[in-house]
Symmetry: C2
Subunit: 427 residues, 2 copies
């Protein structure tokens, strides 16, 4: 009943908050603000957060993954459905901070030693689970008569993993400390560096010149992650007062937040995803004695920031492209290739951790997220793919994102049972 | 030493993070983002937060109010000084959420009954401490040969109170529960409604037509605040599960955050400051049994968001206008009038709470902040004041903002001693 009341409120909200996009009086202008005024900022953030949370509520009461509800809530109020919220800069900032805070929190729960222990399957998985979708997308597009360069872009859009959704789902399930979760995270790290190099290569191919800087960027990416690992080892057992000696720091929160922003920024400057930097920052502070206090202090931050990432992602999903049968068929084929090749890649790369565990690794690498979108955009802008293929690539990315929570919800209990059955046996 | 190291790092930061404003590769673009990419967002937020915190650290080690350090840190890296950070939409969003979260937190610590108890001195103070600066600014400008309409605008810029700085300083001092603090907060509420009506009136005068809607807006403002008080009384003793019944709400945090955004948005739509709505939202949830849990959960949020408000405010302070002697002299005169008239207004309006207590009330109303800036901008845009007078108005607003923490630091201990001496006497 109360859920229904909430939904009714959500439906009425644009009537009540009718002036979300209307110009307001001088009393409410932010001095110096560019696009949005206070009314638009507050109204947009309110509707997105409300939609995400009501979406989660409905989906969870239906026994579905909550994160799918946040995505659908964002889609519902976003420009491709009801059009009540046009995610502006404010929502995008909250979304970006949301996924950064999420990956930092995931890093906080991971120990570097555990990550090293799964180094071999993680690297193997990353490589295999990148080459297989690349080959699959390439083969399909070539079979359809595409140029090699178009085929390469389509393959690449299917190859890059976005760890945001998976880490959220694994976190909601409370299985971040399992071996398969560590392999997924480690593989995603390696995957991001590989994708970085391949995107540089693709951009170079599209423009007809591959520069040596592509390789340098890859080296810088590996360097940042390795330096992060070294820093994490050095940070081991650092007392909490290493964070709280400044007068401004009542708790380690603000210094840790600054470290998070700094390393995320470094990663972004190099060309890696900012979330890789945030994850590395989480790894580092997780080794200090401030870890527990930080986990407690970051929880409220994550509750507020993270839903914006999924709501804004949802608001950017153009599910209406599925209404075109041609695009839909191609997109579903691409998504199916993307899912199967990642699953097989995980099963091959991580087969040392068991049948279901390795399948969980593969399914964990299914979501393509923003990296796939970036590749598709790049392909469109450079004229390598046409509008139809571009739409199909985008929708395929979307489908992998929405499918992942379901795939994980199905496979994780099996992986858990497998681990339980093998308990006492060789690790 | 470590502070020096931090400062050295801040000075080096633009070298290290040289590409804060440089375009980045496709791998780091936020899909659909307008002005800023991830590198700019993370880099800008990092530098602003770091500057604010280092500024606070230096000022506090020098025995000065921390909030002045945050303002100066923001000024230092901002466009009017070093120019390392051009506060973009992302910083403005964080700043706006910062002051909203701050006023919500203040509302959380105030009980409506206590506010009602100081109703009479608060309303008296608000009216007197608005009329006196209005008259003072009007008299000075008229004496300098200004038109009546220009004089009215200058007076109005000196009349409106911005409660952000004061509530932060009183909170840092731990005196939010004192009578004078409640009078300041109550008076600021009334002041904002009066300012709203007067700004509407001024805009109407400048354009030559005063409409009835100005009065309606005032009535709507009073209505929202009164409805808030009623809601707070109705919310009294509401159990925590009134917030946590949804599956998405592990704690009351997210529902309370939504209430905060909704009422802040309502206030902004009416034309009140969003922070008035946030404060009223805080008042309401403060009466429920979730108050304690919310105070704990909002503390990390405030630690992260609030410094952005002061850093961005600092980054928007054009202190360089003080280099023009004519502007500086006029600005200092205006600021002095603004400070003296507010102090006298407080002493007259709240004299029932004692000599130092009432002075603290007056000093608490000294900061003009964004409302003064809005009035000055309006005067410039409608051609009512020239560039020189505009600059002086802005600098006067800045001076009141920077002076307030010092005035409060000086008067609050005296008000405390007075209260202690009067303990046992009539309230």
């Amino acid at each position: 009943m109360t859920v229904l009341a909430g939904l009714a409120f959500l439906l009425l909200a644009p009537v009540v908050f009718g002036s979300v996009t209307a110009p307001t009086g001088p009393g409410t202008a932010v001095p110096g603000a560019g696009g949005e005024d206070v009314t638009q900022i507050m109204g947009g953030l309110f509707l997105l957060l409300l939609a995400a949370k009501l979406g989660e509520e409905v989906m969870r009461r239906l026994g579905q993954p909550g994160v799918v509800g946040e995505l659908l809530g964002g889609f519902l109020v976003g420009p491709y459905c009801l059009g009540w919220v046009q995610p502006g800069e404010s929502a995008l900032v909250m979304a970006e901070l949301g996924v950064v805070v999420l990956l930092f929190s995931v890093g906080l729960e991971v120990r570097t030693d555990d990550l090293f222990r799964v180094g071999k399957p993680a690297v193997l998985t990353a490589i295999i689970a990148m080459l297989l979708p690349l080959a699959g997308g390439f083969a399909l597009t070539t079979a359809m008569g595409g140029e090699p360069i178009s085929s390469f872009f389509v393959g690449l859009a299917l190859a890059a993993t976005s760890i945001g959704i998976t880490s959220r789902v694994l976190r909601d399930m409370g299985v971040l400390d399992r071996t398969f979760a560590r392999v997924v995270i480690g593989a995603a790290l390696v995957d991001d560096i590989l994708a970085l190099v391949l995107i540089g290569l693709a951009a170079g191919l599209a423009e007809g010149n591959v520069s040596a800087s592509t390789v340098l960027v890859g080296v810088a990416g590996i360097g940042l992650v390795l330096l992060g690992f070294v820093a994490a080892r050095r940070a081991r057992g650092l007392p909490s007062r290493a964070f709280t000696w400044p007068l401004f720091a009542d708790t380690p929160l603000v210094p840790a937040f600054l470290i998070m922003l700094a390393i995320a920024e470094l990663a972004a400057i190099i060309g890696l995803a900012a979330i890789i930097g945030a994850f590395v920052a989480g790894l580092i502070v997780a080794e200090t004695e401030a870890a527990e206090e930080l986990e407690r202090d970051f929880k409220p931050l994550a509750s507020i920031f993270v839903p914006f990432f999924f709501a804004v992602t949802g608001a950017q999903l153009d599910l209406t492209a599925l209404l075109d049968p041609g695009v839909a068929a191609l997109a579903i084929t691409l998504a199916a290739i993307g899912i199967v090749t990642k699953a097989v890649g995980g099963m091959l790369g991580a087969r040392s951790i068991g049948r279901w565990g390795s399948t969980a690794v593969g399914f964990g690498m299914v979501p393509r997220g923003e990296v796939g979108i970036v590749v598709a955009n790049l392909a469109l802008v450079t004229g390598v793919v046409d509008a139809g293929l571009f739409a199909a690539m985008l929708v395929a990315v979307v489908l992998t994102t929405v499918a992942a929570p379901y795939l994980l919800a199905w496979v994780v209990p099996r992986a858990e049972a497998e681990t339980a059955a093998a308990a006492g046996g060789p690790a």
